[in-house]
């Protein structure tokens, strides 16, 4: 009986420890706390993003999609995609690329009959996205709910699907997607290594991994200003706008906890990606990491 007791005590002591902001917690506790944070912020997520970053997060996300430069026919998996910001930008981008393609095609159709031209119009109109598709995957029901509502409100329906899933254990087959993105999500994953391995698994050979995340500011003066803003202003914004100080305190702490650029690059390489590189935005406040599966 004593041995059994010791065994179970050892089991308790062995629960892997990790961090939640500046607190130390078990992995299970962390997953639960983070779930609750996003459950609580979901409704005001977009408003808060605009307030905290003074709208600049929109530019960061635009840059991510431009860097991706998707062509029509691309199959994108957007993980931790919650309220759909990347997915909607992807759809817009692919639509405009497609429109330009169509315009080019029409320029060359000078000698066709009216019937032939109108037929090609019909065919092209029905594929305004050109078979491109985006799957938005998120672990949090509330965030997905807000995302779906937004999609309906903004008129996005074609080529878009919403899946409840965990970045550490994706509900998809191997070699499925052309591009995998995770924007401001990987910081909230408890086992980043597992998420990166899953990203590698579900990408097709030749597929691209793109990660947009808060990172490390090396300039000392800027870093102090950034810290001042993060710790003094952001939780206050959280309290005033969303009535939720604690979630935004967690946000700024979790940013400080996250690996800086080079460390994340090494982790991505460890997962098997090649040609891993990163691009700093706003002096490292945010960075885009990219890698390829060969």
């Amino acid at each position: 009986a004593l041995r059994a007791l010791c065994g179970s005590v050892r089991g308790l002591a062995a629960a892997p420890e990790t961090h939640f902001g500046f607190q130390t917690v078990t992995e299970a506790e962390r997953r639960e706390k983070i779930y609750k944070v996003f459950e609580s912020v979901a409704e005001k997520y977009d408003v808060m993003n605009d307030s905290m970053t003074l709208g600049i997060h929109r530019v960061w996300k635009d840059i991510l999609v431009h860097k991706m430069n998707p062509s029509p026919g691309t199959l994108l998996l957007d993980v931790a995609g919650g309220t759909g910001d990347i997915a909607f930008r992807f759809i817009n981008y692919v639509r405009s690329v497609r429109e330009r393609q169509l315009q080019q095609k029409l320029k060359h159709h000078q000698n066709l009959s009216w019937q032939e031209i109108s037929e090609s119009y019909q065919e092209d109109k029905s594929k305004s996205l050109g078979d491109s598709q985006v799957v938005v995957c998120d672990i949090n029901k509330e965030m997905l709910k807000v995302g779906k509502q937004k999609a309906q409100h903004l008129g996005y329906s074609e080529g878009l699907s919403w899946v409840l899933g965990n970045a550490e254990e994706l509900p998809f087959d191997d070699d499925m997607f052309d591009v995998y993105t995770i924007a401001f999500g990987i910081r909230n994953v408890t086992r980043i290594d597992l998420a990166l391995q899953e990203a590698y698994r579900v990408l097709k050979p030749g597929g691209r991994f793109l990660c947009l995340e808060f990172s490390h500011v090396s300039n000392p003066l800027l870093s102090r200003l950034y810290d001042l803003y993060s710790f003094q202003v952001i939780p206050v914004l959280g309290e005033v706008i969303a009535g939720d100080w604690k979630s935004y305190q967690y946000l700024v702490e979790s940013i400080r906890r996250f690996p800086p650029q080079e460390e994340l690059k090494a982790m991505i390489e460890d997962a098997g990606f090649f040609k891993v590189d990163y691009q700093n935005l706003n002096w490292g406040i945010v960075a885009i990491h990219s890698g390829f599966k060969l």
């Binding site: 500046f22 870093s223 710790f231 003094q232 309290e239 005033v240 009535g243 100080w245 400080r256 906890r257």
Partner: protein, 251 residues
């Protein structure tokens, strides 16, 4: 409370330990729900909550936050008034709380009409409010003062009862004027000054000519409302309590 941990983590910012950041905010919780804040954060909270409270009247939490972040002079004042009064002193020692779980609603309802208990319950039912919706304090950096502001919030409904004011905008403004004189809390002063903005001209007239002067006179005349142990006076007649405190008869 929370413990800030200072063991080295592989990903901490180079050359900066986490403690540097935490020290600005204070390292410990003084009471459940307490969020320590730096002076800058308090200033930002005060400004933000004032703005938000005015632009979105449904944000009662913003009014509460405003009260906490601006009460640094008024609250110690109130606490001292309580300390120097026998009944107030007892309240500070015993820390009674007014909530549905501690009140015997059935007994209060059974009391004769005109008593504090009966009229309080009638007020709660007529206006469909509950004492449990008062926000617990978060940003007061002293555990005793946190109780004082909590007590002030929980006694607010009793103020309505004693003043005979309903919970519509007009009634709330009148109570705010009374409370502003009584407590000196900047939040009450602001509420009293800006509350009328949303009232119609007719109501404003009644407010200006009858209600506010009466509220001010009563506020001045009355002894400190936090020095009354209401929970021991449910059977007392409202009239008699009014006289005892010094609240003038309503117009």
């Amino acid at each position: 409370g929370r413990a800030w941990l200072s063991h080295a983590e592989p990903w901490t910012r180079d050359g900066r330990r986490e403690e540097e950041e935490e020290e600005e905010e204070g390292c410990y919780q003084l009471y459940p729900g307490h969020i320590p804040t730096s002076p800058l954060q308090k200033a930002l909270l005060a400004a933000g909550s004032a703005f938000m409270g005015l632009s979105d009247p449904s944000r009662h939490d913003m009014v509460a936050v405003l009260g906490e972040t601006t009460g640094c002079l008024a609250l110690p004042n109130l606490r001292d008034k309580m300390k120097h009064h026998p009944e107030g002193y007892r309240i500070l020692q015993e820390r009674p709380r007014i909530r549905l779980s501690t009140l015997d609603m059935a007994r209060l309802r059974g009391l004769p009409g005109g008593t504090l208990g009966r009229e309080y319950v009638r007020f709660l039912e007529d206006n469909k409010v509950s004492p449990d919706t008062r926000m617990p304090p978060k940003f007061v950096d002293d555990e005793e003062l946190a109780y004082v502001i909590q007590r002030y919030r929980e006694v607010h409904d009793l103020m309505h009862t004693l003043l005979g004011m309903p919970t519509n905008m007009l009634g709330e403004v009148v109570v705010k004027w009374f409370e502003a004189i009584q407590t000196g809390l900047p939040m009450c002063v602001l509420g009293a000054a800006f509350g009328p903005v949303r009232l119609s001209a007719r109501k404003l007239q009644v407010l200006a000519t009858d209600l506010v002067p009466w509220a001010i006179r009563s506020g001045r005349n009355a002894s400190c409302i936090l020095n009354v142990y209401y929970e021991q006076r449910w059977e007392q007649a409202v009239e008699s309590l009014r006289e005892e405190i010094g609240i003038l008869p309503p117009p």
